[in-house]
Point group: C3
Chain length 207, copies 3
């Protein structure tokens, strides 16, 4: 199994866990858990594959991704009541999912020889769109757009790191590892220590 | 006209009616009715075709689908005021739409020789995503995720029925009929008699 | 640079400005501005390209579209506080974006020799879906579905104008100009003078 495939599996597993936890907050049944878990797990990578005309889409080619996501949802369904603070788990698991999904997306676009801007965008899309779909469908405030937090910025910084590393003639493996590390480090710093970029503030809050 | 095409037409017609009824609840004009009706009617099948790289997309190939959905929207626009309880109509019509869209999606994936997991997923996606788009765009609580009801479970059960029937060497026609029957039976039982799967319940409702 | 490419650039630029202004209402940081601006700017055209199987998608082929949208977002980030009434700017800029995006989508479908119904739909999708994504993601009431206003109707009228003009043997250039003019004229009339189509009104407002 290649490193890229491994990243895809890891990202599917961790995003599925976050999807199932959000489903538990919406009090769905076990099939609802599996539905939201699958949507979250494969959403970002699916958009990436459609945009790059990369067929068959990764999980259509290998249904194990779906079985993995559904299995993770089942485990969360029977164990989520053991978890004290589910939203905290969602946020932290989501940070790990981001840190594997961004290199997965970046790596796929690099392997297709796309120009740097597209590589960075594919990393950002793969990392953020599954979680965005999860939050829109379950009616949560999207993590990706939460005010005063770094999220999409972490994805961008990670993807730019990978592109820079490749440009500096590093191998793909280390470049993607650096990408994931930058991504997770910034996101964790934002969650734990409140790191953020200046936000736009209007004098009258809404006009 | 093949049986599969017939299923596509029926699903477009009935989903369009539900879309137009939801548009009436949002008090849109006649073009808004047609827009929501078309989105609902072709949304699920479009996602199916994009995921399976099945080009041209069914309604790009045959614009009659769009004319049918728009016509249905027009009829609803001038007659919806005659209907007593529109939400009840939406729910019941939607159950019929589900019961034709799931076999339509399942049949299309079967005809492409996809493996069972993908066939089941395509049935589920075709059946549920049009209605999900309708509800997200019109800001209704998505039927597909309503708590304590069977919906996506009905789609899954129906699609699994079709796959099992094919595996047992039934012809495609009867297999898809069985698929639709299981799908509609479960959904109708859920609406009329409250059938449901156990839902996840946390002690403190949100943590 | 062809006339069609020019339309694509203009539509990306103006839609990006509206996206960034909506991001300012959600008080995002500069990367959030760029994200919403890009989603709005390329969303409609991306759906058009995927539906028509037109690969590579226009901005994957030419990353300058993304740089343009991100640059526009940056300029809005540092200047939006100078603007008195941001929502008014969003609405008027959006009307110009619509009036270039609809001819852009119509022209692309015409160039592929699609039948009239599909050409009209592609114009409507390209014109409206980017703004719809912007509003759903940022949790605004979608402009496209605002009650008692012309929006999707303007897109339809413009696209029908183009198809009729081509059918009357006009050149593509003038046909697309007429399309944009009709589109903008109707939308501006709706904003400024309240032009609208009769909306559906139920006796009891929601049943």
């Amino acid at each position: 199994m290649s490193f890229l495939t491994l990243l895809d599996y890891a990202s599917v597993l961790v995003f599925a866990l976050t999807g199932a936890l959000v489903a538990s907050r919406a009090q769905l049944d076990v099939v609802g858990f599996a539905f939201v878990a699958c949507l979250t797990a494969v959403g970002g990578g699916t958009v990436r594959d459609l945009l790059l005309d990369r067929h068959p889409v990764f999980w259509v080619d290998d249904p194990n991704f779906i079985l993995l996501a559904a299995g993770a949802a089942g485990i969360v369904f029977v164990t989520a009541h053991l978890v004290e603070s589910r939203m905290k788990w969602v946020i932290w698991l989501d940070s790990f999912a981001l840190a594997v999904a961004v290199p997965a997306g970046t790596g796929a676009a690099l392997a297709m020889g796309k120009p740097p801007v597209i590589v960075v965008l594919m990393g950002m899309a793969t990392g953020s769109l599954g979680g965005l779909m999860r939050d829109v469908v379950c009616n949560e405030v999207p993590l990706v757009l939460k005010q005063g937090e770094l999220y999409i910025s972490c994805a961008m910084a990670g993807a730019i790191t990978a592109v820079t590393a490749i440009w500096a003639r590093l191998d793909t493996g280390p470049a993607l590892l650096a990408c994931g590390a930058v991504c997770w480090g910034l996101r964790a710093g934002s969650i734990a220590f409140g790191w953020h970029l200046p936000v736009y503030k209007s004098r009258p809050p809404r006009s």
